[in-house]
Amino acid sequence: MSGDNQQWVVGEIARHQSRLRAFVRCLLVRPSDVDDILQEINAVLWHKAHEYRPGTDFWAWACQIARFKALNHLRKLGRERLVFDDTVLLQLAAVAMEKLDHLEEHRAALDHCLRKLPPPQRQLVDLRYSAGQTIESISQSIGRPVGSVRQALFRIRSALQTCIERQLLAGGEPS
């Protein structure tokens, strides 16, 4: 592979970081592992850049490597820490790969939908994702049970998902 092509692959790795991260997130149980594995995947993609055939689907190629790396990581964790078996993991990987093809449209719609969230819900989202607080610390700070906070966040994400799908169907530009 020429230097130009290698440079191109590096650019593609950068361009697909969000997708790769979300893809890995769909396979790993522990959120804290995601960024570490992503770094390893980046390194493998970089080292295997010469194996990429220009003109073929970069996302499919990267996904294949990411899936292999993530599954390998899960197997190393040991049976007791595994949540899903290989069949389900491959099923999740297939669904994720398909859905992530449209990640940028989803992201734009998410921007729009976040701005529509009522303030209390937005505040909860901010505590979890902007401030990076754990469910437990949010629970303590607002005086609600852990399960209740977790379910509230689930419902907010579901509402956002519905909003995103509606937005994508409408095809309107987010405000």
């Binding site: 590096v10 650019g11 790795i13 950068a14 697909h16 970081q17 969000s18 991260r21 979300a22 997130r25 769909c26 149980v29 522990r30 959120p31 995601v34 960024d35 992503l38 770094q39 390893e40 980046n42 390194a43 970089w46 949540v83 899903f84 389900v88 099923q91 999740l92 669904v95 994720a96 859905k99 992530l100 990640l103 940028e104 989803h106 992201r107 998410l110 921007d111 701005r115 505040q123 989202v125 901010d126 505590l127 994702y129 902007s130 401030a131 990076g132 607080q133 469910i135 700070s141 607002i142 399960g147 977790r150 379910q151 966040l153 689930f154 994400r157 579901s158 956002l160 998902q161 530009e173």
Partner: protein, 372 residues
Amino acid sequence: MNSSPPPTDRLHQWIAELIDGQLTPADGAELNRLLQADPQSARQVVDQLILDSLLSEELGTESLTALVDLAGQSPAGEFCSGESNSGESPAGAWSRSRRGIGRVFSTRRAWHVAGALAVVAVIGLAFAMGRWERSSLASSSEIIVRAAIDAHAAPVERVYVVQTERSAAGVAGFKPPRDVRVTTQGDRFFVEMNRGERSWHWGLDPDGSIWLTLGARRAIVINRDEWGPALHHISSLYTLNVETLLKDLCKNCSLEYKEGTQGTHFITATADRRWSGRRLRQATIEVDRETKAVRRLEIQRDIPILGASTVTFTLVDSRAPDESKYRPQGHLVAPYRLLNRDTRLDLRRELLANWFGPLAERWIKTPEAKSP
């Protein structure tokens, strides 16, 4: 009797626990069985996990930009805490948390602000070290740095690429791709942050207004007389009036001058051990002997929990300015809207808060009531 699919509430609970990494092995086994039997549930799991990832990325700190590490604790930290002391009284846990959010400066769209602040903090540091605490400076360092200030005031546009490395997450031989560029010219600047298919810009235009793009077709413009305290900080940093803003940083560093080998001078600033809560371990400034431009700046920091990080600003281009890029129009696609002072104040503030976090609404100050 209990062989029917679990109620939806149960599935939702499992997914919620899965997302937080709190699913018990027994519930995990149940969920695994359900996903094997019901592909629709698998789609629901994937939807939630993708959304979780997007929200973490959109709103939170994340590994792709360690720049926030730098900005979060030094100028941006001061900048944000200054904001929270601006007279509005906190009310309840929510507002306390929201101020916390501002302090860590972690919203995704604040990256370009954070990145910009980081760059300017470092550039400012370099210049401030030449201007602050004169008596404590080696005279050669002062001359060089002051010459650099003059060099940066010339009608030349300089472009710096910003790179960040972390010891903890680093993979040997591989640098995670990022693309952050700061273009400066005298008392103007614009910052470009590219990430994947998206990019953001903000800057200070020749009329003294700060602008921030909101996507490809809108920008908020804030005139100088509308700036809240935070924007004054930003502006001061970029126009190199750094003495007051960075004096704390500079008076806590010892400076050392070295002759470089390739047409450069080196100045190394090392944080004093007594500096409690110190924000950097060491900064190295490389100044071109001929042009007196800052060629390279390197900041080394020890970040609690995250380990060491190094942020490097490298001069990659000096060129004739492209004037259009110092205005928001140069980064927007027609038809576009500029939301300036003709736009309702509350709308601009709401947009700022939505895009840059809760504190951003105070970037535009409240107009003083006119006396009758």
